[in-house]
């Protein structure tokens, strides 16, 4: 306050401000973008929209649901659990001992009845329950580099605890996944005619071509003190070992099916299939289940009613909501954009 000397500034700056036209104005450039006025659409959930959306979903979902259900109904599926019944009655007290005893004959016969006509191809799956192929220890125990190239045979990192043999030689294919390869086998017959099971092309082509090398042969496989599963043919390259390739696509969930082969002929309703199987694979130690599955397929895959039901339910719900909203709009009509609904108009004193 009261600084006399300021007068000098006052007068000088005053003249400077007023006279000279401003050369570099800092006025921001106008554009629709900088002023946040880009053309835009402003959707609002009007009754019309809400009802249309729900109706549309209903209209789309219900037919899909019906179609899915029909597809699922067309699928004929035969599931036979054999892990317990294949244990000889004298050994049911200690199934693990049974399965580990190499001297016991593991052959087991089952008969399956075809309930409905099954048109080819009929897929043969084995289903394991409670087998955690997604267990962290398990799912990581593999080495993809080793599977691709023979030159990478020594690449066994990540394969613990099936990495190397006692004398340090690398195991090919290494890792728990390969080690635990499923080794039950099935032979099918109707009447006294054998049903051939085509085990070719049961794996993904991409896996055969790019993931498993054609010059990679099993080495030192299943040579440890604990045998996990199937032994591989040392003379066959990995890309031809389709059971292994299928097995190595680890299942997402603890109950899963793996393709065993295809029966490429129709089966008629009432046909009796006799299955001769070798019950080799140990699921007893973790109370898992083994099932044999014969199934046809539809555009939707295997037999599964869930999706159809779910679509029907959602579609139905949406129809219901469409009706409910219509009722709400009729019972309690509100003019959209009526300023009298603004809180300060409804209750003028209330703020």
């Amino acid at each position: 306050m009261n600084n006399v000397n300021g007068s000098v500034v006052g007068s000088s700056s005053g003249s400077g401000d007023g006279s000279a036209p401003r050369r570099n104005s800092k006025r921001p450039k106008y554009s629709r973008f900088t002023q946040q006025e880009l053309p835009a659409c402003k959707p609002i959930l009007t009754p019309k929209w809400v009802i249309s959306v729900f109706t549309l979903i209903g209209v789309v979902f219900v037919p899909i649901g019906i179609a899915s259900l029909m597809a699922s109904n067309d699928v004929v599926e035969i599931v036979d659990r054999y892990d317990n019944v294949c244990v000889p009655s004298n050994m049911t007290s200690d199934k693990v001992a049974y399965i580990q005893n190499d001297d016991v004959d593991k052959t087991c016969s089952r008969t399956l009845k075809v309930p409905k006509h099954m048109s080819q191809p009929i897929y043969v799956y084995y289903q394991l329950d409670n087998f955690y192929q997604n267990h962290r220890r398990y799912v990581k125990s593999r080495n993809d580099a080793q599977l691709r190239k023979s030159s990478q045979a020594n690449e066994t990192s990540g394969c613990d605890p099936e990495k190397r043999t006692k004398d340090g030689a690398p195991i090919v294919p290494c890792g728990l996944i390969a080690w635990s390869l499923f080794n039950d086998t099935y032979i099918f017959a109707t009447g006294n005619k054998n049903l051939t099971v085509n085990k070719k092309e049961i794996s993904w082509k991409s896996d055969r071509d790019h993931k498993f090398g054609k010059d990679v042969f099993p080495k030192n496989f299943q040579s440890g003190p604990l045998i996990g599963g199937k032994k591989l043919n040392d003379t066959q390259p990995l890309n031809e070992q389709e059971d292994l390739i299928v097995w190595m696509r680890t299942a997402a969930l603890p109950t899963f099916r793996k393709l065993y082969g295809r029966i490429e002929q129709d089966l008629n309703a009432g046909d009796v299939i006799s299955v001769t199987l070798k019950n080799n694979y140990n699921t007893y130690s973790f109370s898992g289940k083994k099932k044999l599955v014969l199934s046809t397929s539809s555009w939707l895959g295997g037999k599964n009613d869930f999706l159809g039901i779910a679509y029907l339910a959602v579609g139905g719900l949406c129809f219901f909501l469409a009706v409910a909203f219509t009722i709400v709009y009729l019972v309690k009509p509100r003019k959209l954009g009526d300023p009298s609904y603004l809180s300060w108009n409804r209750n003028p004193a209330g703020h």
Binding site: A40, K166, R257, H351
Partner: protein, 1140 residues
């Protein structure tokens, strides 16, 4: 040289040359005055040469008057203390090499850049890790490197953190690079340094200037370092400096060279080389300096008025020579430079609370997983060895040992840590970087807004603090300065009452009147002459309006030349008494061309009317008083002007008294006041003036808008109560139907009593109204007017609570006569007692404390320098910009940021829940079906861009609507867009959506050949699409950028998934192609999206229809206004945002 007991003082003696002599007899003796310092008197200063003006004057001039020096010396007196060896530095004048070898004196090079290329990495990382969130992610990344815990691959685990750190580091590096450039320019500026050998000044770069060197600075030159003045171009040793860069004050300050070092010519040695200066260590106090200088064996003391500081400019002085005492980073300006203020927004504070909740949720999830894992292990204890998928033992080394198994306890512990690693993105790391980017975008739009551009000062809106944008949308209290903030701080002469006659409006005083009536009007700020007059061709003072026939030609501190109706006349200014708040007036003594001496006094009416000689001119006094009342009711600042003819005796008496007083070492201010009061008596009234400090454009409308928006506007002003009230009326802050509660008490007790009365009154008035809201339609609005004196008794005492009670009930609060610190105190009163957000807006240095105290501080770049701007979070040009700033940008910012935070929480939590559901089906071993790369890319690539784009661009309502309905702003005050309830609803929705994403494919693929990678791909895509659709459903405005980012991100995710699945080394090779070939995949995707969104969509549709909020109604209005209500009158809106 040690002080040896001889103390130095900082009395500003050189400005008052003659040694102290006893005060003249007619002056009241200051018996009761406690001396400022009794122990030390300065050595007598040599008398200085008389001004050259003196021979032109009718009688000898009094010594040069140093306006403002008294005030300064009082201000500086506080810094008086003795210098000891320990806290001083010794500077050899002209001898930089010999200067204080004890100190490692840096050169004058400065460094504002934080990093050098070498230190950048460690320092930047160190600073970044001050963020707790980053430490969290670092810890997780480190945990992941431990072999038993390695969940992700090395690369994948470090990538997100590295990405965030990198982005921030690049940003910091760029900013620092710019600082480097600025430093280089600054350091390479040229200074002229005295070369002792030749005795000439030679150019030298700033960075090479050293302490002890002697520099010359020419007029308008910037001072390169802190220097003690040795000589100046003014023969009296005065230099004018502008300190705007230092403290933002635009007025000129005077600095003096010591008489001992002054020399006649600029290029000769103004000192002896053996001189040395002892001064205090470098410190931040820009108003303090303490030192002494030895000249020819004599010790001369130096004070703050002898030093010129780096960054200031020399003005109106041909040259100045000084010796460097502080250089480079020791200079006061560098010591004072601190970064932009750092505040944390309220939304962010709330966000941190929710982050804690999420952390708790994270811990719950992790505990569930690890405990379940423990139970699972316990149940299968005996199976572990032979289960093919577990295989507890490793036989490869010959002897059996456990492979990666450490007992159930340890497994549980590891599982817990691993689940923290897997679920880490529950705490959204990308949120922090997104928020910064969004704020950057918002700041870009705010500063680019043409509505916030001020033509008159050519200034854009400035975001100085980047982290509180969203606070602008939640302001409840606005504390505003008055002068310069509500008003333009340009005083305009409006009315004059001369000799009782009113000249106002277009009513120009008649020219050529034979009566002599000069009016002297001096503006508070800077002696800006205003106007006067009726016609004495002989004696006229100051006139700004040429139209009246008086033109101010020239003005120096010694004389004034005025063109009076064609004749140039010279008036000598013989003396001046500063304005002070006790006298409330100021006066000037003028030597007129006809050799008479006149005293002109101007001041507040209350103080002036008392000093008027009674008995004569009664009519005039009465008429003037009537006019005054009329003026102040118009909101004008009124001043009364009086005149007194001084006889030669009276003048001489005054002169000697003045000299004595102004050279007194102790109590100078009091002496001067006494001299002034003595001479300012027996005045004849000349008239009065009404000065208008014009309201800024659009202030009343802005205040009305803010009031409607539920913002309480408090005005804190230094003005007197009447002016404050009248301004309050003129800016529509006060209205005539308001009940005013006025508190102006002179004591604690009366203050307490009036407060209690006020409480009683306000509660009585509030009672009949609406009980729920506490404010009824029935009662008239309340206004509280309180003055600074009362506030002294209130603030920081028990009465604060009472004041708070009254003030919060009142609609308007006006505080007058408040000191700067009181302003901050009032802000603190609200800030500490409520959760409401406060905003302070001001333009002057006196508003700084309040600006810093408030949650949001806004500086107006106005007439009073840049100090307020420097302390502020946002700076702009006009008060009325508050409306678009708060109502439009604040609303948008808040809405966008609130939504973005919630959405980010949701987005990451959905993903975590999907992972969590899956973990429940993997024997609790934290396998992820979703590839680790997708987990990593999820929040930084797959879903990052849309939320940023929406956070920057989405607008719930248009500018027009927001300005038309200010009440919409209250959504922010009520925390409508971000609160615990919304958070919990969002979490519930998250759980539902994640369940839909997980369980639909789970059931659909339950007994199938599906492999983990394929299902993982489905989940990845489902999450990204669902999350994008969720965002799409909430977007208010779809412009092409929104479309591009949302749909683009979905496409980008598909592409990324395809790329990842095309790497043959990955277990999931080709999975996505197999999946996309099946109908089930697409049906699952569609089912997930619909099932996931139905609850949200239904709730949204229902609430928007049945319980529409104001914003919803306004959106409908915006959309359907053209259709239903073509109320044409309402379409023209935003009138004042369009005003120039």
């Amino acid at each position: 040289m040690a002080p040896q007991g001889a103390t130095t003082t900082l009395e500003d003696k050189e400005s008052c040359p003659p040694p102290p002599s006893p005060p003249s007899s007619h002056l009241p003796k200051p018996i009761s005055e406690p001396p400022l310092r009794l122990d030390s008197f300065p050595p007598p200063a040599p008398s200085r040469s008389q001004s050259s003006l003196e021979n032109t004057l009718p009688f000898p001039l009094p010594p040069r008057i140093r306006h403002g020096s008294c005030a300064e010396s009082e201000r500086f007196a506080t810094s008086q203390r003795e210098l000891t060896d320990a806290d001083s530095r010794v500077v050899l004048v002209g001898d930089p090499d010999g200067t204080d070898p004890r100190l490692e004196l840096s050169g004058n090079a400065i460094r504002t850049a934080k990093y050098s290329p070498l230190t950048f990495l460690p320092r930047n990382l160190f600073e970044q890790f001050h963020r707790l969130a980053y430490v969290y992610f670092l810890v997780i990344a480190v945990l992941n490197q431990l072999p038993p815990l390695a969940v992700f691959g090395r690369g994948a685990s470090v990538l997100p953190l590295a990405f965030v750190l990198l982005v921030t580091a690049v940003k910091d590096a760029y900013e620092d690079w710019r600082r480097h450039l600025a430093d280089r320019i600054e350091n390479n500026r040229a200074a002229s340094v005295l070369d002792l050998g030749t005795g000439r000044f030679r150019p030298k770069r700033w960075k090479d200037v050293r302490v002890g060197e002697v520099l010359k600075v020419l007029a308008d030159g910037t001072i390169p370092c802190d220097m003690v003045l040795l000589a100046t171009g003014d023969p009296t040793g005065v230099a004018y400096v502008q300190t705007i860069n230092l403290d933002g004050e635009s007025n000129l300050k005077t600095r003096y060279a010591k008489q001992e070092t002054m020399s006649p010519a600029p290029d000769s040695h103004p000192f002896v080389a053996a001189n040395f200066i002892r001064c205090e260590r470098p410190n931040r106090n820009i108003y303090g300096f303490l030192g002494n200088m030895e000249v020819d064996g004599k010790r001369v003391s130096l004070g703050p008025s002898n030093i010129i500081l780096r960054g200031c400019e020399i003005k109106n002085t041909a040259w100045a020579i000084g010796v460097v005492v502080y250089a480079g980073c020791d200079t006061k300006v560098m010591l004072n430079s601190s970064g932009a203020p750092s505040k944390r927004s309220r939304l962010e504070t709330h966000m941190n609370r929710e982050t804690l909740l999420l952390s708790a949720l994270l811990i719950v999830l992790c505990s569930v997983v690890s405990v379940c894992n423990g139970f699972w292990l316990g149940n299968h204890r005996d199976d572990l060895e032979l289960s093919q998928f577990f295989r507890k033992k490793d036989y490869s080394d010959g002897d059996e040992k456990n492979y990666n198994y450490y007992g159930i306890g340890m497994q549980v512990f590891f599982t817990f840590l691993m689940s923290v690693i897997v679920f880490q993105i529950m705490i959204p790391i990308s949120l922090y970087i997104s928020m910064e980017l969004v704020r950057l975008g918002q700041a870009y739009f705010m500063s680019g807004d043409t509505n916030l551009y001020d033509e008159s000062s050519n200034s854009r809106f400035q975001c100085r603090a980047l982290n509180i944008n969203e606070d602008l949308g939640q302001i409840k209290y606005v504390f505003s300065d008055k002068t310069g903030t509500l008003t333009e701080n340009k005083m305009e002469f409006q009315c004059a009452s001369i000799g009782g006659e009113d000249y106002s409006g277009g009513n120009a005083p008649p020219q050529g009147n034979d009566k002599v009536h000069p009016l002297l009007d001096v503006d508070d700020q800077c002696w800006k002459p205003k106007m006067l007059v009726k016609t004495d061709p002989e004696l006229v003072d100051l006139l700004t309006t040429a139209s009246y026939g008086f033109v101010l030609i020239e003005r120096t501190s010694g004389h004034i030349v005025i063109d009076v109706l064609g004749h140039r006349q010279r008036f000598d200014v013989l003396g001046l008494h500063e304005f002070d708040s006790d006298r409330k007036r100021m006066s000037v003594i003028i030597g007129c061309p006809d050799k008479t001496v006149k005293l002109f006094v101007k001041g507040a009416d209350s103080s002036m009317l008392g000093g008027i000689q009674k008995g004569i001119d009664l009519d005039i006094i009465c008429a003037t008083e009537t006019n005054l009342r009329a003026y102040s009711s118009l909101g004008l600042r009124t001043l009364v002007i009086g005149i007194r003819d001084l006889t030669r005796n009276e003048f001489e008496e005054w002169q000697s008294a003045y000299e004595n007083a102004s050279t007194a070492l102790v109590g100078r201010g009091r002496f001067l006041r006494a001299v002034a009061s003595h001479v300012e008596r027996d005045l004849r009234i000349l008239g009065a003036s009404g000065i208008e400090d014009k309201l800024q454009n659009g202030v009343p409308e802005a205040i009305e808008s803010m009031r409607q928006a539920g913002i309480k506007v408090w005005v804190l002003t230094g003005d007197k109560q009447e002016t404050a009230i009248s301004i309050g009326f003129s800016c529509k802050l006060l209205t005539s139907e308001m009940t005013q509660i006025v508190i102006n008490s002179k004591s604690r007790e009366s203050c307490k009593k009036s407060l209690q009365d006020a409480v009683a009154m306000s509660s009585k008035l509030a009672a009949p109204g609406n009980v729920l809201t506490g404010a009824g339609s029935a009662r008239s609005p309340l206004a509280l007017i309180i003055d600074g004196t009362s506030l002294v008794y209130v603030l920081e005492t028990a009465l604060e609570e009472e004041l708070f009670k009254v003030a919060t009930v009142c609609d308007v609060v006006l505080c007058c006569r408040v000191a700067p610190l009181q302003k901050a105190g009032i802000v603190a009163l609200i800030k500490n007692r409520t959760d409401d957000m406060t905003l302070a807006i001001g333009d002057g240095a006196n508003d700084v404390s309040m600006i810093q105290m408030a949650d949001v501080g806004i500086g107006l770049s106005g007439q009073e320098g840049r100090q307020a701007v420097m302390a502020s979070d946002f700076a702009m040009g006009q008060f009325r910009f508050l409306v678009p700033l708060l109502l439009v940008h604040g609303h948008w910012n808040y809405q966008r940021m609130a939504y973005m935070i919630l959405y980010n929480f949701y987005r990451n939590a959905v993903f975590v829940f999907v992972l969590f559901w899956y973990v429940l089906y993997t024997a609790y071993t934290l396998t992820t079906a979703i590839t680790e790369w997708s987990s990593v890319l999820y929040s930084v690539v797959y879903t990052a861009l849309p939320t940023i784009i929406v956070g920057v661009l989405d607008k719930d309502l248009s500018r027009k609507t927001l300005i038309k309905y200010p009440q919409l702003y209250m959504a922010g005050q009520r925390d409508e867009r971000y609160n615990l309830k919304l958070f919990i609803l969002t979490v519930m929705d998250t759980v539902w959506q994640s369940a839909a994403i997980f369980f639909i494919p789970y059931v659909a693929y339950r007994h199938s050949t599906i492999d983990g990678s394929s299902l993982g791909d489905l989940w990845t895509l489902a999450v990204v699409i669902l999350v994008s659709i969720h965002l799409a459903m909430d977007v208010y405005r779809w412009n092409w950028l929104t479309h591009a980012s949302i749909w683009g991100c979905i496409v980008a995710t598909f592409i990324c998934v395809i790329i990842i699945d095309s790497i043959s080394m990955v277990p999931g090779y080709w999975a996505i192609f197999h999946m996309m070939g099946t109908g089930l995949f697409w049906l699952c995707l569609l089912g997930i999206i619909v099932a996931g969104m139905v609850p949200r969509f239904t709730t949204k549709a229902l609430t928007e229809y049945v319980m529409p909020g104001d914003i919803q109604i306004a959106r409908e209005l915006e959309k359907f206004r053209n259709v239903n209500a073509a109320t044409t009158s309402e379409i023209s809106m935003s009138t004042f945002s369009q005003q120039p």
